[in-house]
């Protein structure tokens, strides 16, 4: 386990740094004293158990929720993310876990929402072409971009949400479980995308429960547990180490299942 700040493959300036960020919802403390740094050209993976507070953290950074306490510095200045518009203006693009799409609008309208081309006379042709380009880049399988998002499959929606975030020219891009609903090909494309984005010098925060994917793209792996920092790892850390940090125990459902399977297989062979 490495120290929380300053370490890791720091390829650039710190884009984002959080100090002592906490968030309470009534009697529940969703986040307590979180510290986090993201540098330019760095992919930070945020991992943790269900309800660990990953999405809450992302929402705070996206201006959706306000932190109960703590400071956020972005590009060297302390910032107050009062609403999502402010975060977007700062250059923070987010793919939310719940996608946040408008079901009544079609795919093109969702991708360009808030950033339509030609505000006084929408340029539907240009937007449609650009939408197809983005979607094809992500290997999306969407029959028509003129259907309301309500009729799309889970993975198709997720692709639309990811495509949205590519429109901006952000400095930091946050992806909250971007591949959860994606097919194998689409997942590969998103991982490629993350690498491309990193290589362009952006900071990236990615949340995932898939340790393989995480290790494939992350430069640093930050673990949250029950709303608190629980260590920073490198992709070279072992699976066992990581999972122990996430679940808070070396003996856990995953290890038990692995053991049981191993036993069964031995039994089968015997």
């Amino acid at each position: 386990m490495t120290d929380i700040t300053g370490s890791g493959p720091t390829r650039g300036e710190p884009v984002l740094s959080l100090r002592n960020v906490s968030k309470n919802f009534g009697a529940v403390s969703a986040l307590t004293d979180i510290e986090l740094d993201v540098h330019a050209g760095e992919v930070v993976a945020l991992v943790g158990d269900n309800g660990a507070g990953k999405s809450t953290l992302v929402k705070i950074l996206a201006g959706v929720h306000q932190a109960s306490s703590g400071t956020i510095r972005f590009m060297g200045r302390e910032v107050a993310m009062t609403d999502p518009g402010a975060a977007l203006d700062l250059g923070i693009a987010t793919v939310f876990q719940d996608l946040a799409l408008c079901e009544n609008l079609d795919v093109v309208a969702n991708i360009f929402l808030g950033r339509e081309l030609d505000p006084w006379r929408l340029d539907e042709v240009a937007m449609e072409v650009k939408a197809w380009t983005l979607l094809n880049e992500l290997a999306a399988r969407i029959p028509s971009v003129r259907e309301p998002v309500a009729s799309l499959s889970g993975g198709q929606r997720q692709t639309v949400a990811i495509a949205r975030s590519l429109l901006l020219e952000p400095k930091l891009i946050m992806l909250d479980e971007p591949t959860a609903a994606l097919g194998v090909a689409q997942t590969a494309e998103v991982l490629n995308l993350i690498e491309r984005v990193r290589d362009r010098g952006l900071g990236v925060i990615v949340i995932s429960h898939n340790m393989e994917d995480v290790r494939a793209v992350a430069d640093r792996i930050v673990v949250l547990r029950l709303g608190r920092n629980n260590g920073v790892f490198t992709p070279e850390s072992s699976n066992h180490e990581l999972i122990a940090a996430i679940t808070g125990a070396t003996e856990n459902a995953v290890s038990r299942r692995a053991a049981a399977h191993a036993a069964a297989q031995e039994g089968g062979l015997a």
Partner: protein, 417 residues
């Protein structure tokens, strides 16, 4: 189809998916239409069918119903509440409501009457003042809604009462004020008719626009590697529409002709439709109505959108009120009371705008108010006691929307609600 860098495997970008039936040309359009009939995705067609249905029935009961001058009167009557309903469409689009449009229209007519006739302001000044007050009240609702989080139902219910009070106050003991007959305002509301040739000319515009826009869109889409759609379809659409409109104009010209006031209403509807469907603002309205939080996360200034909806609604209500006064040549305590509220909201809903936000169209105000006024007009041609009149109005209203309801139902059962 030209081979384009964007097209995939010889198919245009948006037709590349193997599961998609390739509806090209006229036949494809027809197949697409049948599909839409089946799945109930017909927009305003069902309500139009309902309208035709009730027209046939009323005509068979009393042929005067389709007498040109009766229809001219109908158009005059549609314009006033129709414009109010247009404002209602705005607030319904964002999933809110304005219960005070009736009072607002009454207050605007009272203001116009008082300022113009009693205080001697110039007419445009009085009208502008009334519209400004409308906008102001809308802005007030926006503050109550955005800043204090008051549900629009409650805020505008308070408004309904308070504005009615102001209307009574402004009119004072007088109760009602006559507007001069020979004033341009009253002429506009009662008699001003487009010259025949002008009406014929205006009726050409939609067709021309459809062809022009259709061709340019087709060219641009093809150039960008998207499917272009069928040229013949565009031409047929434009032709059918133009012929239909010219026939209507011809028929109305047999009577007094096309009222300018109705022209204004249609102009506002078309303008509003453009704003709602072809501008960023309209897109934001739809988004906020569909999913407020998603719109907010997309960086849309949600409060400003709500404010624009409330302000537009109240302003349209004020305009409708001024025109009602013009139509009646009077500004009175009764103006805006009674059924104005319910009719304005009902018109929008009957035309297909959802009460829950995110789904609607400016045309719903036009179509809905025509349905409502056609029923009212049809019933004035039958000698009925009040009790029967109410019962029949209720029944006919239900019938008029039943076609639409059935279509909608099939839409749900096809998984596209």
């Amino acid at each position: 189809m030209s081979q384009n860098p964007n097209s995939v495997a010889g198919r245009s970008l948006d037709r590349a998916d193997a599961r998609l039936r390739q509806d090209e040309g006229l036949g494809g359009a027809l197949r697409g239409f049948i599909d839409r009939v089946r799945s109930g995705d017909l927009g305003m067609l069902p309500v139009a069918v309902g309208l035709v249905l009730i027209s046939v029935v009323f005509t068979s009961l009393n042929p005067v119903f389709v007498a040109p001058n009766n229809l001219v009167n109908l158009l005059f009557d549609c314009a006033t509440v129709g414009i109010i309903s247009l404002g209602i469409v705005c607030v319904l689009m964002v999933g809110e409501i304005d219960l005070s449009v009736g009072s607002m229209s009454g207050f605007a007519s009272a203001m116009t009457g008082t300022l113009w006739v009693q205080q001697g302001w110039p007419l445009p000044g009085a009208i502008l003042a009334a519209l400004a007050v409308g906008a102001l009240i809308g802005a007030l609702y926006a503050v109550l809604f955005n800043r204090l989080g008051m549900p629009s139902f409650v805020a505008t219910l308070s408004g309904l009462l308070a504005i009615l009070g102001m209307q009574l106050y402004v009119l004072g003991a007088q109760g009602s004020i006559n507007l001069p007959y020979d004033s341009p305002l009253v002429k506009f509301g009662q008699t001003l008719i487009m010259p025949d040739w002008f009406a014929y000319l205006v009726a050409l515009i939609p067709g021309i626009l459809i062809i022009a826009n259709g061709l340019s869109a087709m060219r641009r889409r093809r150039a960008a590697g998207l499917s272009g759609g069928s040229l013949s379809l565009v031409v047929i659409k434009a032709l059918v529409l133009t012929v239909a409109l010219e026939v209507v104009v011809w028929y109305l010209n047999l009577g007094r002709g096309v009222p300018w006031m109705f022209g204004l209403f249609v102009l506002l509807v078309v303008g509003m439709n453009y704003a709602l469907t072809r501008t960023q603002w309209g897109r934001s309205m739809t988004a906020v109505g569909g999913n407020r939080e998603a719109a907010r996360r997309a960086g849309i200034n949600v409060r400003r959108i709500y404010a624009s909806a409330f302000v537009l609604c109240s302003t349209f209500a004020a305009l409708g009120g001024i025109l009602s006064a013009a139509r009646l040549a009077s500004a009175s305590q009764q103006a805006g009371t009674g059924d104005v509220n319910l009719n304005a909201i009902a018109a929008a809903v009957i035309g297909g705008t959802s009460l829950f936000g995110g789904r609607g169209s400016a045309y719903s105000a036009l179509l809905g108010i025509i349905v409502i006024q056609a029923i009212a007009s049809g019933l004035t041609l039958l000698n009925l006691s009040s009790s029967l009149r109410y019962m029949i109005t209720g029944g006919v209203l239900a019938v008029a929307v039943i076609v639409d309801s059935l279509a909608r139902r099939s839409r749900v059962s096809h998984g596209r609600a």
